[in-house]
Symmetry: C2
Subunit: 354 residues, 2 copies
Amino acid sequence: MKTTAVIMAGGRGERFWPKSRNSCPKQFLSLTSDGETMIQKTVKRLMPLVDIEDVYVVTNAAYKDLVLDQLNDIPEENILAEPCARNTAPCIAFAAAVISRKYDDATMLVLPSDHLIGYEDIYVNTLKKAIGVAQEGKNLVTIGITPTYPETGYGYINFGQESGAAYEVKRFVEKPDLPTAKEYLSSGKYLWNSGMFVWKVSSVMADLREFMPDIYEGALRIGEAFGTPGFTETLVKEFTAFRSESIDFGIMEKASDIFTIPGSFGWDDVGSWLAVERINETDDDKNYTEGDVITVDSKRTTICGGKRLVAAIGTRDIIIVDTDDVLLVCSKNNTQDVKKVIAKLKEEGRSELV
Amino acid sequence: MKTTAVIMAGGRGERFWPKSRNSCPKQFLSLTSDGETMIQKTVKRLMPLVDIEDVYVVTNAAYKDLVLDQLNDIPEENILAEPCARNTAPCIAFAAAVISRKYDDATMLVLPSDHLIGYEDIYVNTLKKAIGVAQEGKNLVTIGITPTYPETGYGYINFGQESGAAYEVKRFVEKPDLPTAKEYLSSGKYLWNSGMFVWKVSSVMADLREFMPDIYEGALRIGEAFGTPGFTETLVKEFTAFRSESIDFGIMEKASDIFTIPGSFGWDDVGSWLAVERINETDDDKNYTEGDVITVDSKRTTICGGKRLVAAIGTRDIIIVDTDDVLLVCSKNNTQDVKKVIAKLKEEGRSELV
């Protein structure tokens, strides 16, 4: 059975503002010193598993040119341009319906476009195992990450019995508070929900039909129109009519026959500016600097310079991001509050800075 | 007797980098919201005491145009352009010699160009008293500032007996360490040396002759050439030959008949970026911001914005200064280390940023 990959690349990456903008979100940025963008890395590391013509990118129509530009090996028709944002369930249904047109059935990897993987060989082997499990039956397989600390920003997967290469999933749980996250961690029975899924197209379509029949029907009509002159019209009509729903809430929390494979491949969701010091090398004082930077007595400072000299003196636990039109200086305790600045700018109608 | 004023405006203001540059030092910047530059304020507050044609500005030749531009009421010949920096003794000798050419004798106020005064009426009255004391005899009068905390960055004046409107000076002392500064403060017998002096030209010339005869002779030759075609040649020859010396070390610490008048007029030497929050209004969280700035949960943060948006999130006790080609982010504990950055830039030959 053919293996296909669906890269979800419609996100806004607000937490990486001001580098990530409406016009160029996080997945199209490089946050590592090698200059490769997140989405380029995502596709590259799949190459041992998937033919390039079987890689699909679902993104907002506004980013189609960015995808074409950064991933010029991918067939243009594989770039699935959403007319609006409707969260992951419609996104995945759209891709599944399109792949159904090409192959009777196929294995489908569903992957975020803006995460990093430290150990790519292990990652590929883990996905191979997941492909095997998905192909055995009507299974939905999710990759769970073994937690290393009680993170409160992720959803968790509670797993049960071992079953072949995987574990049965008992339930998905939302982001916990800190005491609950600590319990999860010490129980040894919870994994982080990484948002990476593996299944047969036929499996996910069956579950869509059962749990989200409206979206299933719409996706079918989009799939039927794919490759015909009326495609864009149908897509806009059907997709804009979809409600916004996550695949986790829409299917994973309801379906049976769900398995998880624990992944230990140096996963990083690059979820905020704090990630930069994790995914890059720092100096002896734990500073990370890029660009034209002078530091004097600075420690644990992350500096992403722009076109100008940045001089940081005596700084501690702070993130400095310099761009042409915006400068961000953010305490490491407040990286989530970047969204508040964006909200304020939207409120003030300053969309050119968002 | 005529009252003249000599404004010393040759400093580099390194501690206000990156706003203060070789090409435009601190005294030519506005650090207050009214937009007036430091030197403009210095001259303006003297107007109740001195005619504008009796105001002299001693500055580096490189800044002559800046002075002309910012102080366009001052006669051009009153701008005394030093060909090189030689500290305050040669600067004052130069001005005294020039004033000697115009008036047989005159009272001479010697004032820094880059300090701020909160209570200008009290300041003017204090200087009036000082003028009176200076005219009584061969007196050198210095304005001492009543200390409010044990500052280790200033020289101190140890005073003794009251004598009319002033106090006899027992000695000048260099910048103390903290325990010594605390002793000075608790003794009630020490004032901060503000670098403001009042004397008759004849008095300071007599002391120059006694304690710095080489500089006295050179200054006399400069004074004789003033207003003649050979002036610039003489000035360059004599001035470059001067050794670098402060008036404190060269005269004040050696001469007798020295008096101090305690000043309580809201003096601020604007000695580092820390001054900005002192001399301007701050918000409820003790932030000072100027320019296009958004703060979220920031406290005690000083932000001097430039042309771009500055977003500060969760910052504490930090100073952010944005200019076209340099961004400074500096802990309030490290404001003196700005000089280290300048030293590094000089070392690297990056003079355009200094």
